[in-house]
């Protein structure tokens, strides 16, 4: 579209759009970087790196406790003849 405009105007528009794109990229990168550092600091303050034994066990509960296998092939359906 820019090639239909007077050359100087086209160049100015192109420079302006590049400027905004660069501003966008750098501010986005800065935002993402600061967010990650803030998240790490927040996690440390919140005690996320303490008592890791409990953290590793949080996927289990009384319904699916440690020691219980929670997945197997649906063989029993076939064996009973009720499945298909």
């Amino acid at each position: 579209m820019a090639h239909n405009l007077p050359p100087q105007l086209g160049e100015a528009l192109s420079r302006a759009s590049m400027f905004f794109v660069f501003i966008f990229i750098w501010s986005f990168a800065l935002f993402a970087g600061i967010t990650m550092v803030w998240l790490l600091a927040w996690a440390v303050r919140r005690g996320e790196f303490q008592n890791l034994r409990d953290a590793s066990r949080m996927i289990f509960d009384d319904g699916e406790p440690i020691g219980e296998v929670t997945d197997r092939f649906p063989e029993s359906i076939k064996a009973s003849g009720e499945g298909r």
Partner: protein
């Protein structure tokens, strides 16, 4: 902080999380499977064309069009939707909350699929941008990015509402994905398709994106799935939770730097390549820690591979993560690249990563979660077995044939005495093997699609001995006990 204390509340929260995610996650995974089948079919057509160029000789099916369609539907169609479904289900479960924004998420899923259809049509019609992994025109990519805004908001909302005290390692990965992916896509689009940079700098931006879309989107989701599924299925906590956190943070720090190794030998400043090589070498740290952790967790439970479909796929994916990542890091070395660059070796590596590591972990997630979401068992154990063996054999044949052919092809190309046509002739039998591997992979995918479709159609099933809902039986018992008290 609202922490759940009662065991019955924990179980209730888990089951409610599953119920709330049913429609959204099923939509995302069903779409993912459709796109996987489409991608595998497009890949098969591309593969046949390499040894039989006149196959389907139509303008819109030329190699330059169907091959990008194969990759884009694999990474965005299957990868994007499978990972999003995984993210939403896992985060709801781990936070012990209901999935929020279900309406917008369903609309997002539909928009995403629409974007995929438009992108595929555009590329097949010849409107590709020509930039690898970003071939879809910007207007089609917009449909893929917008739904992700809802996913990001839903993810952070669940985390903010979480009823658990800790953040599980899988959650670290899932939270990171929702921070990294938007930055990746928007920056790459701004740099490349909006023309912020051009020439060599555009190639750098392209490979920074191309490498990281796998490493900072697909890989973290796959690892998150493995860290949840392996301990959960075998009923044993992770071997070392410390190591898992070391793996996460080193992955977060080093992966981002590795992309420029794709341009080794290219007209780039040497330091940019060196940064990529160093980043790739540093990746040995997370890869080794994750590999050790998964292996040590599985130690003593390998016999369960015979009886658990989820575990089969999860362990296959985890093992292939180690293999493909070691291979990828070594591939970054300049001496290695002298032989393997621009050969079929790279294609072999990519498939070991995507079809050997990422896809099996997504399959594992679906095999584990779908019965809990739909409240019914898979209809056929035989179809699961066919799916598993086709995935394993197909990937091994594909990776083995392409990597071996690639090394030999590279050595032959480096010998000026060998005419180029001889090199091409040498690769043809291996390209035919690649087609055979593609057919095997497609057969496996079809078996899964049938099983998945049967479940979707609410295939009539009665449980002789429910294998997957013991927790709900326990839940009922606990509730009864609670009422007595």
């Amino acid at each position: 902080m609202n922490v759940v204390n009662s065991p019955t509340e924990e179980i209730r929260a888990r089951i409610e999380a599953d119920s709330s995610a049913r429609v959204v996650v099923t939509l995302y995974w069903a779409s993912a499977l459709f796109w996987l089948t489409f991608a595998t079919l497009a890949g098969l057509i591309s593969s046949i064309k390499l040894h039989s160029p006149d196959f389907l000789n139509y303008e819109w099916l030329t190699f330059g069009r169907i091959r990008p369609v194969h990759w884009d539907t694999a990474i965005y169609g299957f990868g994007g939707l499978a990972a999003s479904g995984t993210l939403l289900w896992l985060q709801a479960r781990l936070c012990q909350v209901k999935l929020p924004f279900r309406g917008p998420l369903i609309i997002g899923g539909i928009l995403y699929n629409l974007g995929m259809v438009l992108g595929v049509i555009a590329v097949l019609a010849g409107y590709s941008t020509g930039v690898e992994t970003l071939e879809f025109p910007v207007w089609a990519m917009t449909f893929l990015v917008l739904p992700f805004v809802v996913i990001v908001i839903a993810n952070f909302t669940m985390y903010a509402r979480k009823k658990t005290q800790h953040t599980y390692v899988s959650q670290w990965y899932l939270m990171a994905v929702t921070v990294w992916f938007p930055v990746l896509v928007l920056s790459a689009e701004a740099c490349i398709n909006f023309g912020a940079v051009d020439g060599v700098a555009q190639a750098i931006a392209n490979w920074w994106y191309g490498h990281n879309v796998v490493g900072l989107f697909a890989t973290p989701t796959g690892i998150a799935a493995a860290y949840y599924l392996i301990p959960k299925v075998i009923g044993k906590p992770i071997h070392s939770y410390h190591l898992s956190l070391v793996g996460f943070w080193t992955n977060a720090i080093f992966y981002n730097w590795a992309g420029t190794h794709h341009l080794t030998g290219g007209p780039l400043p040497a330091w940019t390549i060196t940064v990529g090589v160093v980043g790739s070498m540093m990746m040995f740290i997370p890869v080794i820690t994750i590999g050790i952790n998964h292996h040590m967790t599985m130690l003593g439970s390998f016999h369960l591979l015979k009886t658990s479909p989820t575990l089969r796929f999860a362990v296959m994916g985890s093992m292939m993560y180690t293999v493909a990542s070691f291979q990828g890091s070594l591939e970054a070395l300049r001496t290695h690249q002298e032989v393997t660059h621009f050969t079929h070796y790279t294609i072999g590596h990519v498939h070991l990563g995507m079809y050997g590591f990422f896809a099996p972990l997504m399959f594992a997630m679906m095999y584990y979660a779908m019965p809990r979401l739909m409240r019914q068992e898979w209809s056929s154990a035989r179809l699961i077995r066919i799916h598993f063996w086709c995935t394993l054999v197909g990937t091994a044949l594909y990776g083995g044939a392409m990597c071996f052919a690639g090394v030999k092809q590279g050595l032959m190309m480096n010998d000026p005495a060998i005419p180029f046509l001889k090199v091409v002739e040498f690769t043809i039998p291996f390209l035919q093997l690649r087609t055979l591997a593609g057919l095997i992979l497609l057969s496996g995918t079809m078996a899964f699609l049938i099983n998945f479709g049967r479940m979707m159609a609410r295939h009539k099933l009665t449980f002789a001995d429910p294998t997957l809902f013991t927790s709900e039986r326990n839940w009922d018992a606990l509730l009864e006990e609670e009422q007595k008290v």
